[in-house]
Point group: D3
Chain length 246, copies 6
């Protein structure tokens, strides 16, 4: 089974970290193909960044289809382009927020999301609603760390995240934590040890979720909303993205 993990931002060192976490989580026989977007923002911290990340992301899904990929992980907590990617893909496409929220709702009566910047908390609430997970979500808390500072040596990021997780448990009554940024993928166990409650991270959760769906023989429904885009000719600098006949 071949799973493509797509980092929709252009920062390769984030892809590398996610790749190694994904490989550690994958089952024997699962091949992880990690790809970094070749165009657009180096981190996704606004609706604008997300919009401009979509072409690069979708190019990776399109090439994955040509390469016989079995399923995809969209490795950014905003789950950008999830529905568009499903239109392109035969196999399942899972967002890391989607997988993490599903997992958290199964192991705990409620969870809180701890993310980076305050301006992205609205995006997390949008996703929780879209996936039906709003009823489990006690709060979305930001610790005001920039995405690309998460793995800087000497950064206070981990301390700030742990503090925010504790507040989610104590003040909001959450029973588990969902980490709201792909850049936090390697902090899971450390945070879990400190706070004493389950911490769910989406990259690895999504890898396992795709593995499960593929091995169940489940692909994306191709009637209706997730059908392949109609073939048409795009104009200008994006002409290469024109959808073709199947």
């Amino acid at each position: 089974m071949k799973i493509k993990l797509i980092n929709p931002n252009t920062t390769a060192r984030m892809t590398d970290t996610m790749d190694s976490c994904a490989r550690a989580a994958a089952a024997v026989g699962t091949g992880i193909v990690a790809a970094t977007s070749t165009m657009g923002p180096p981190s996704i911290e606004s609706w604008y960044d997300e919009s401009l990340a979509l072409p690069g992301l979708l190019a990776e899904v399109a090439s994955g289809e040509r390469d016989g990929v079995d399923g995809y992980v969209i490795a950014c907590f905003g789950d950008p382009g999830l529905f568009a990617a499903r239109e392109l893909a035969r196999g399942p496409v899972v967002g890391i927020a989607e997988a993490a929220m599903h997992a958290a709702s199964v192991i705990a009566p409620s969870f809180s999301v701890v993310t980076t910047l305050a301006r992205t908390t609205g995006m997390a609430w949008h996703l929780a609603e879209r996936y039906g997970m709003k009823r489990f979500c006690r709060s979305v808390r930001a610790c005001d760390v920039a995405v690309l500072d998460l793995d800087q040596p000497g950064s206070a990021a981990r301390r700030l995240i742990v503090d925010e997780c504790r507040r989610a448990l104590d003040e909001d009554g959450a029973d588990a934590i969902v980490l709201g940024c792909a850049g936090m993928v390697d902090l899971v166990r450390a945070i879990e040890d400190e706070i004493g409650a389950p911490v769910v991270e989406g990259v690895t959760a999504a890898v396992k979720w795709v593995e499960a769906l593929v091995s169940l023989g489940l692909g994306t429904a191709k009637r209706g909303e997730y059908a392949r885009p109609l073939a048409k000719r795009y104009d200008g600098p994006l002409a290469d993205f024109s959808p073709r006949e199947a």
Copy 2:
């Protein structure tokens, strides 16, 4: 007052029709600047089309800001890039689905949306939910007409739309109709005459809604989620889209 009406697809003849309807609806003193996207899909009929329409759309908002535009209409019923556009704009940005649903909810206890392709009905429901208009929306009905066939001479489109509107009134109990495609802008009065119930069209509704907000001195809230995107350097073919310091 200068209002920029952005057609996020690349089909100029749709822009022209919308432009003349918008001018007819605008108040004395309102200047309409109609723009056709210079890149991406010629019509938006899938999540994929929508994703690839975003760069072209956002480029028009960015240039609008440089030109001192007071407010924007996003002239496609999926309201693509609405939140990203609001991050860029100082003035108000209104989607045509948003404006049409608001208007319909004020003049009628309920409405139905009549749109083009069945695969886009899910998108309309997403918007109804996002705007709080789901409670007014009795149904979203598709008449299976391609967007670009709407204005073909001799097309059966108008007949199919009228039939679907009638079914919405009779079978779903709707009290008014929202036309679910920017390409239907010039059909409003004809349909209204045939069905005997209010028909709301989004392009003109959005123009009036922007006019109203601008004349009230209301612009987009710049704290929190709609703040300007953080300055950063984008990579590859989309480098020109890099957000800059304000």
Copy 3:
């Protein structure tokens, strides 16, 4: 275009203030006809007050219809009698809470309502739900000022309102403010300057919303729930209110 602004309480000096704000906001060619209710409460601060304000309000709508009025603004934040007024009117009828909430939901991801008395906060939540705006409404806050004290010289009202607006932004995470009382109509700019976030006021918003709907040719849907009341003979002191054949 003739828009009738109806103050459903009997306090003429509130009507006067609203009238001058409405005129300032109206477009060239829009005539504002401001009317003060001739019977009932001098201010509406309870469900009981609201109930007794309805006959006076509806009498003004009925006379407006005889006078060829094109659209109506109900100028009290509880939007009293909105649905009954729509049954009487051919043109659109807009409540000031409705218009303000719509406007706020377009320019900001969320808003809070700041109103006068704590006992009316439930009413504001009812309206937010009825209009589908609950999802945008972070909180409804009261500053415990009586409606008729709002414009008393030397009143602490403005200070109390500003403080409550600040708390809504800081503690509840609102991005914009909706002023929850028609008596606050002339305070908008001053408050906005102090708090640095958009402040939406309903009287002017509703005037612009009615202007927009009328110029779009949209009137109230006359099938179903908003159809004219059936003709019948009322008894007793309210016999003059008997609905007649159209």
Copy 4:
């Protein structure tokens, strides 16, 4: 215990029928005081009718308070003026739609409302939402019978109602029926026999609900929203309704 049953329309023969049904349902020791409104519409079939029924209704609550009434039933399925009446009353005030929906939700997993005119179905949905009963309500069906024709000799009303009840059970999957008009009070058993499913009627349900609350020592909460209206001087023909100091 003294329970006042208020018919908010002016048709005394409806009051009489309700009165005898209420007496038959009341416990030993419960006195029923039935009152017919002395002003306003002879039947309530629109939002306008409802609005003009409020003064007469509230006058009866006010006089009930002077007479030491222990609790009130508002005997019209729109539950007009429920919240205003609660502001006036010390004891409990129950609407017949409220009581009937509560009762139906306890004895059946779902119910449908069968009412008179199609134009009032929206009102029934409003109430279902307000009381939290929307999740139990499968449908609101109208049988297009005018309220005052319900008890005409030879009327087809009963047949039409039974047919609509059957459709609610068979087509909508309802498990019980709520009769949506006070004028149907004496038809309950006959309909129940014909359709073979529980039929809930609100007048008697509300009488029992008030009895229960009064005997539990429960009155209306007087902090917050249901506090007595503030004393103030009303103007014009409604001056007599001015709320006074307690």
Copy 5:
């Protein structure tokens, strides 16, 4: 009329207290038959306790049917086995949480639940949702008292409960209190006196609610979900519970 009050835990002294409160609340002519479960947990403080309380509870309903009982009260605030009991019973079955929440929603615009252990607050929210009462419920607060300590002489329980009720009124804006444990049945008046707001207790409310339904001739709907269980042979130690042909 014979109403069976079933304590689904095995602690007879709780049954006795509830029995005497129920008798005091019952109308002349109502016979209360109080039963203590003969198997399972002595108090219900977890989902596990609740699950193991079901056989004992349902055995009491089954024997009640053989004894011609007219209606049932399930006297534990989790309303365990409510739907299963309705399948067995001809008459109405009311849970004490259900009755208390209904009553509170009628006399107050909102309520808070004050219960014993924090781990059961989720259960109370589940019930509020199931009954449509979530919209009235401001908060569920626990005072961390074990159920069986409630009536210990010298226990601090009453003080803790009163403090938590006060916080619900002051901090959460509740207008009334619902006591969230059958063991609090005899504290109602004392708490009400101290906090000055209505306090609703479910055992007595449910008795009155069943009385009302029975005297209205309303039993459980026997089509669909609440139909008698299909006859089948159970195995093992629970064979005696096998449902039989009616």
Copy 6:
């Protein structure tokens, strides 16, 4: 990894079928331990059946804990005792309805549930709500086949299920099917071939979901609602179920 698959009814041949499907789906290294409940109903087709299935189910979870089981699948579509089982278990516990609905929501914009008896459709809606999956669920359809007839040779069951699946796709607009009974586990591929849309079956989905969670190191949150039951002494025939100190 050891996963215990618990059939909460007493019919061993259903367990055998599920066991072989689960083994086929499991990863290398996953051991499936299938257990049939030793007490209670042979099939679960009512709330009563479900209630009486709980002791047998929970006994299997308790013994699983003593045997070092890593995670559990509750293999009945009503997901009986899910929360109680989570209180007992250290590892994850997944219901088959829960897993199937999650999976369906990821591969399709909407799904319908096709189940056995009409009386259990309410139960499926309850679960959809509890898991946040109501927004994806177009309908719950019953094909009126008894659970134990599903695998009878010559049974019309498969034909009836396929017909109902087709109606869900065509009439309700579903994009995928969730099979609503554990007894349908071996019909998945055959149905999928006939209807041409994804069919999700819960037993195998839950096995994969538990595998995923266990390999992610995620167990049930032990603070709050899912904490171990408090130790106490149960009475009567269920004394053996008394929760003990950890």
